[in-house]
């Protein structure tokens, strides 16, 4: 996912949760980021700051905490498990860039190291997840 779109999603979701929970101020937002996403953290954090700056006082003092989760792939055919970072080493820049924009295109470029099947699942490290938000009522 493009970092800016991701940041917009995080902020919009945090605001929704805050409204639902009756928070008048958000103090902390925990975000889990899967490795498959290959998020550029510098760009992501810059986008978050810019988006928060345009928001109401609700988010002005919010602190963002990030947890990075390595991506693990598991072949549905032979059961082999392997790390995405190992697969990444075999990809060229264009292939890696495609997965950066659309992570599911991993199925286009990555194959099981044992049986070469494209039929694998991402058991860990896919996507971005808003783990929790904390704030004051």
């Amino acid at each position: 996912m493009h970092e800016w779109a991701l940041a917009e999603g995080v902020v919009a979701t945090a605001i929704k949760v805050a409204e639902r929970e009756g928070l008048r101020e958000i103090t902390e937002i925990r975000v889990k980021i899967g490795e498959l996403q290959q998020t550029d953290m510098e760009v992501f954090e810059f986008a978050l700051k810019e988006i928060v700056r345009l928001q109401s006082a609700l988010l002005r003092r919010a602190r963002f905490l990030f947890e990075h989760e390595p991506a693990v792939l598991k072949c549905r055919v032979c059961g082999t498990e392997w790390a995405f970072k190992d697969a990444l080493k075999k990809l060229d820049e264009e292939q890696s860039e495609s997965i950066h924009f659309l992570p599911e295109t991993a199925h286009v470029y990555v194959r099981c190291p044992n049986c070469h099947s494209p039929d694998f699942e991402v058991t860990k490290g896919r996507g971005v997840w808003l783990e929790s938000i904390s704030g004051e009522k």
Binding site: H2, L102, V108, D119
Partner: protein
């Protein structure tokens, strides 16, 4: 919580109508209808987007002869303007390679596309759907609250039977159906209007099998002048002539 789900509606807020072109089975001409409809709408002066959601078998880029263009990054992904159409497809990222994606990953990919794509202001967003009522159809219904369906079938009994299931499901869910287009209509057609009339879907018109259509694939000028395009235009006249894209057929 998946943060992507919060902004899909935001991405579509300046799109007046979202038309998913769907059918019960493959090979009935959904992609030809989608691509040609997008061309006809664009030439009628509408602002048009075309989203190819046939993830495993995208083909609208082939029909429209689209190659050598790519989206640009601007706080998301802005689809390139090709032949007057904002065009988005997995092909920008998968190229000519097979895309063997299934299950939850299909849904994830659709969510991702809907999240990152900045369509801007459009009169119509046409979606080329894959066949059937599986993940993509359910995802489009789930995430695109204002979607309406344009249903395509051929006079084949098999196609009609599968489209009946699609129509039944859409009706059950209260999803608007713009109408039905009969593609590859044959003189001996039994009349799909009669077959599907009990389901209350208006038959917008029929398109005869156009032997010249294959010659027009990849050539937008030929496609726009084809009998196929002319008959599709006649069938969808009320959609195409609308200004501002507000009312339904």
């Amino acid at each position: 919580m998946d943060p992507r789900l919060s902004i899909i509606e935001e991405r579509l807020k300046d799109v007046k109508r979202v038309i998913a072109v769907a059918g019960g089975k493959g090979g009935i001409g959904k992609s030809s209808v989608s691509a040609t409809l997008a061309i006809v709408l664009a030439r009628a002066g509408h602002r048009v987007g075309l989203l190819d959601l046939d993830i495993c078998g995208p083909s609208t880029h082939v029909i429209l002869g689209i190659k050598g263009v790519y989206p640009t990054e601007d706080k998301g992904i802005v689809p390139p303007l090709v032949h007057g159409i904002r065009f988005m497809s997995i092909i920008y990222y998968a190229g000519d390679n097979p895309s063997p994606i299934r299950g939850a990953d299909i849904s994830n990919l659709i969510i991702e596309l809907l999240t990152i794509t900045r369509w801007g202001s459009l009169d119509f967003l046409v979606i080329d759907m894959p066949p059937g009522i599986g993940d993509p159809t359910l995802d489009v219904i789930r995430f695109m609250k204002r979607v309406e369906f344009l249903v395509v079938t051929t006079p084949s009994k098999v196609a009609i039977e599968t489209v009946r299931k699609l129509v039944k499901m859409l009706a059950e869910l209260g999803i608007p159906i713009t109408g039905l287009v009969e593609n590859m209509k044959m003189p001996s057609s039994l009349g799909i209007g009669q077959s599907l009339e009990p389901l209350g879907v208006p038959l917008l018109g029929g398109i005869a099998f156009d032997e010249g259509l294959e010659q027009a694939v990849g050539d937008v000028e030929k496609l726009a002048e084809s009998c196929f395009a002319q008959e599709l235009t006649a069938a969808l006249r009320r959609i195409i002539d609308e200004r501002g894209g507000e009312s339904h057929v």
